[in-house]
Subunit: 168 residues, 2 copies
């Protein structure tokens, strides 16, 4: 059904193949194709993005298979699942970039910028000491207006009460 890939399998896809083999799971052309798309982009891809890119590449893979493969990619820790409150998930591979980074999300244009913060480590240490909590991962998202939108003079409406509320 799926024609054999003409291009060689990329190193990252091979890593995914290794994960599959280690878990006794078949390495199929569909899984490789989905992984190839995810690893060849530095964007935060939605499932629709992935499906579109597959189609553009001549592959026609069912959504169910895409979802199932993404689940495997996330389990393998090679891919991270993101949720920017858009009503659907996005996927981002964790190779060739900082393994831990945070996101700046523009509430006007939807643009996402990544940044690294060492302060987060300090926070995690505090937390461990104060609550006896053992952190495994975290998510920091800062929402606001990006530089380009500020430059255009954009502003965000405030709809709260006219008079600020004192917290008791």
């Amino acid at each position: 059904m799926i024609p054999p890939a003409t291009t060689a399998v990329s190193p990252f896809v091979r890593l995914f193949g290794r994960y599959l083999r280690e878990h006794g799971l078949p390495v199929t052309p569909q899984r490789q194709a989905v992984a190839e798309v995810v690893f060849s982009s530095t964007e935060h891809l939605s499932v629709d993005d992935i499906e579109r890119k597959l189609r553009e590449g001549g592959e026609r893979i069912g959504k169910a298979t895409i979802y199932r493969t993404l689940d495997l990619l996330v389990r393998s820790k090679l891919v991270a699942e993101r949720d920017f409150n858009e009503g659907f998930k996005r996927y981002e591979h964790r190779l060739s970039r900082q393994p831990e980074h945070e996101h700046l999300i523009c509430q006007r244009c939807g643009g996402v910028t990544e940044f690294k913060s060492e302060e987060i480590q300090a926070i995690q240490v505090h937390i461990a000491g104060r609550f006896g909590f053992r952190p495994t991962r975290h998510k920091l998202e800062i929402y606001g207006l990006c530089a380009s939108c500020i430059a255009v003079g954009a502003d965000l409406p405030s709809e709260g009460l006219t008079c600020p509320i004192e917290t008791v």
Copy 2:
């Protein structure tokens, strides 16, 4: 349909009433009932939680109305919407507590602990300087094991590749 509330309207609900009036929107018994439930709990409530509590209080209010009222409460900034990756949203009122706080989420028992962090402010200042970004709000969630689950000897399975990957 809805019997008149026997208890006096709480101050927080009155605040919501003020918001509605300021925006030319009617203050209805349903809206007051939903607000009452949200303001009388310090939990992170799901829509089902809210519906259940309303029923327990003898109120039978349609889900659509609950959703529509929550939308108003969030717009008024009296209530914050939360998403802990459970597939649905939770709602938490912002009165009688720290207006800005972060969440510690136990991956085993699902327990949520709140904490405050001043470091976040420093991060936001960095970001503003470095990216020209104007932050309005943020979300920091730290996932891991809570003290009680650690005490019970719980552990989280790691399903990634057996050999850690070097980021290129």
